[in-house]
């Protein structure tokens, strides 16, 4: 119970850290979406590029986060942001690319060829086809990718406290430094709860934006 006491006694700091954590993750996710979704769509038109882009995103994923922060330190130092929120957000954007690109790519690829053919055959331009047909059909899978990226980013953002990005990782980091068990636990607990809440929220959004015609097709959402 002392973990809860700790949270209640320090609620101002805790709320601030939650806000900071959510801010880092949302910013990173927004940027990652802006890069990853269009990239995933572009590579459906260039198969050779697709393999390379997805491989690159795969390799990024294998780099441990601490190592990635270290690698970025000298690079981002050149623009005066070796530590803090900039490298944290950058790292999260990079990590998020794999689920976002891969899901977008797969979703667009999996739109039935007959549907695409029918659209083209009726005289839809590429853009009209994408906007009217391919994106609406793909949206559940694309959002599933964003959801994975969001949950993963919340976990990684906790580690970013070590490069001074702030967020709930601060509780864990300082707790370890001070051998303060309640502090470590409250940090870990809050990160987990945040991840669960975001996961649930995104699942809800996923269900809301899925076109009704597609829901009928697949009565049980994955």
């Amino acid at each position: 119970m002392s973990t809860f006491d700790f949270i209640i006694n320090n609620y101002r700091q805790v709320i601030y850290l939650i806000g900071e954590h959510v801010w880092i993750v949302s910013l990173a996710l927004a940027l990652a979406t802006l890069i990853g979704v269009p990239l995933g769509m572009v590579i459906t038109r260039h198969k050779a590029l697709a393999a390379r882009v997805i491989n690159a995103a795969n390799i990024l994923m294998t780099i441990p986060s601490i190592a990635l922060f270290g690698l970025m330190l000298p690079v981002l130092s050149l623009v005066g942001h070796g530590l803090g929120k900039v490298p944290a957000v950058t790292a999260l954007v990079l990590y998020s690319q794999l689920p976002i690109i891969r899901n977008t790519y797969t979703a667009i690829q999996n739109v039935p060829p007959a549907v695409v053919d029918a659209g083209k055959g009726m005289g839809m331009s590429r853009w009209e086809l994408l906007r009217e047909v391919q994106i609406p059909i793909s949206i559940p899978v694309i959002l599933a990718g964003l959801r994975t990226a969001a949950v993963m980013s919340i976990g990684i953002a906790a580690i970013a406290a070590y490069i001074g990005a702030g967020g709930l990782g601060v509780l864990i980091q300082q707790g370890i430094d001070r051998v303060h068990q309640e502090m470590i636990l409250s940090g870990a607990l809050l990160v987990s709860v945040l991840a669960l809440v975001v996961d649930g929220g995104m699942a809800l959004i996923e269900r809301l934006v899925t076109p009704r015609g597609i829901k009928i097709q697949q009565p049980r959402p994955k």
């Binding site: 039935p112 331009s125 009217e132 047909v133």
Partner: protein
């Protein structure tokens, strides 16, 4: 309506896709109303041609209304015009607008989906329709029905249609002309009758099958071969001895009994002997009567089934308009293949 017919992989689908430039021509030209399609904008070209495919390819995220309205929307019609047109098309393809307008493709049966596919292709009233095995994925019973509906529709619309099929029955039934392809080459381009009676080479003969005489019967209708003024007609009010006398005079085996112009049955001289009453009382009823639009193929089948060589043909009111006999079927076939014999 031209049917592109041929075995799988003979290039009939490719020819269709070349026409709306979903595939591009490597050599040669295609002209529509003497305009080379290479000179046209592919998107504009496709908007002016209706396109129906076997897999239907309805947009699962859109309602039936929005699916049908795709091309009119692309062409920028106003809402009222689109709404009217979609309703009209749904009536035409026998889908109740109020019932189906807001449904999604996943809620419809295969046959209904294909009807929507046809309606969608007709939306902007294109002069040309490309249909790639449109009824191929529908079960045989529904296919027969949707083919008939489509033929009725075409009788009203009179569109130019290129229709891909690998089914000889469908081709014979639907086509004004058939273009038979093999391995990317056009083998024969003729009317169904000529394809059946004068196949150009062994490939065509094999493709139409050894039962082509029977297939010719499928092309003929009862009205084409019926005897409109049969001599062996008697009225129900005549007495048995009267009828028997007439049969003997004319040397006939049987007579058809009519009551107020409607066939009641037939009587043979055997039935009439020793009878004194009205001939109506001894008449044996026909198991069924044929309609004028019935195929001769079906008429023959009835003859075999019921062991009768004559059937009455009736109009919509049930009045007798003629008779069909086994002999008349034989004769019509002989006439049909007469050209064939002369050609060889």
């Amino acid at each position: 309506m031209v049917i592109f017919l041929g075995p799988s992989g003979c290039g009939k689908t490719t020819l269709l896709r070349l026409t709306n430039r979903l595939d591009s021509l490597s050599r040669g030209n295609i002209y529509i109303n003497s305009q080379n399609i290479r000179d046209l904008n592919p998107v504009k070209l496709r908007q002016s041609i209706g396109y129906v495919i076997q897999e239907v390819g309805l947009f699962p995220n859109k309602t039936i209304f929005d699916n049908i309205a795709v091309v009119p929307k692309l062409l920028g019609w106003n809402k009222e015009k689109i709404r009217k047109r979609v309703d009209e098309l749904m009536h035409l393809t026998r889908l109740e607008p109020d019932l189906y307008r807001r449904r999604y493709p996943a809620e419809l049966s295969g046959g209904q989906q294909q009807r929507v596919g046809v309606a969608r292709a007709l939306a902007a009233d294109p002069e040309i329709l490309l249909m790639d095995e449109p009824f191929g994925a529908i079960d045989p019973i529904n296919r027969e029905q949707i083919q008939n509906e489509f033929l009725n529709l075409q009788a009203k619309m009179k569109k130019t249609i290129a229709f891909v099929s690998h089914d000889i029955h469908e081709a014979l039934k639907m086509g004004d002309k058939i273009a038979l392809f093999n391995q990317g080459r056009l083998i024969q381009y003729d009317t169904p009758e000529v394809i059946l009676t004068r196949p150009k080479n062994k490939f065509v003969a094999n493709f139409v099958g050894a039962d082509r005489a029977l297939k010719v019967l499928g092309l003929l209708h009862v009205r084409d071969i019926m005897n409109c003024s049969p001599s062996n007609i008697v009225d129900a009010a005549q007495t048995a001895p009267e009828v028997l006398k007439m049969l003997e005079q004319k040397n006939l085996r049987y007579a058809i009994v009519l009551a107020q112009g409607k066939p009641v049955g037939y009587v043979t001289s055997q039935d009439l002997k020793y009878e004194q009453g009205l001939c109506q009382e001894v008449a044996r009823p026909y198991p069924l009567c044929l309609e004028q639009g019935t195929s001769v193929h079906e008429a023959l089948s009835h003859m075999l089934m019921h062991d009768l060589t004559t059937f009455c043909v009736i109009n919509d009111q049930g009045d007798l308009v003629g008779t069909v006999t086994y002999k008349s079927i034989q004769k019509s076939l002989q006439d049909f293949f007469a050209d064939d014999a002369e050609a060889q």
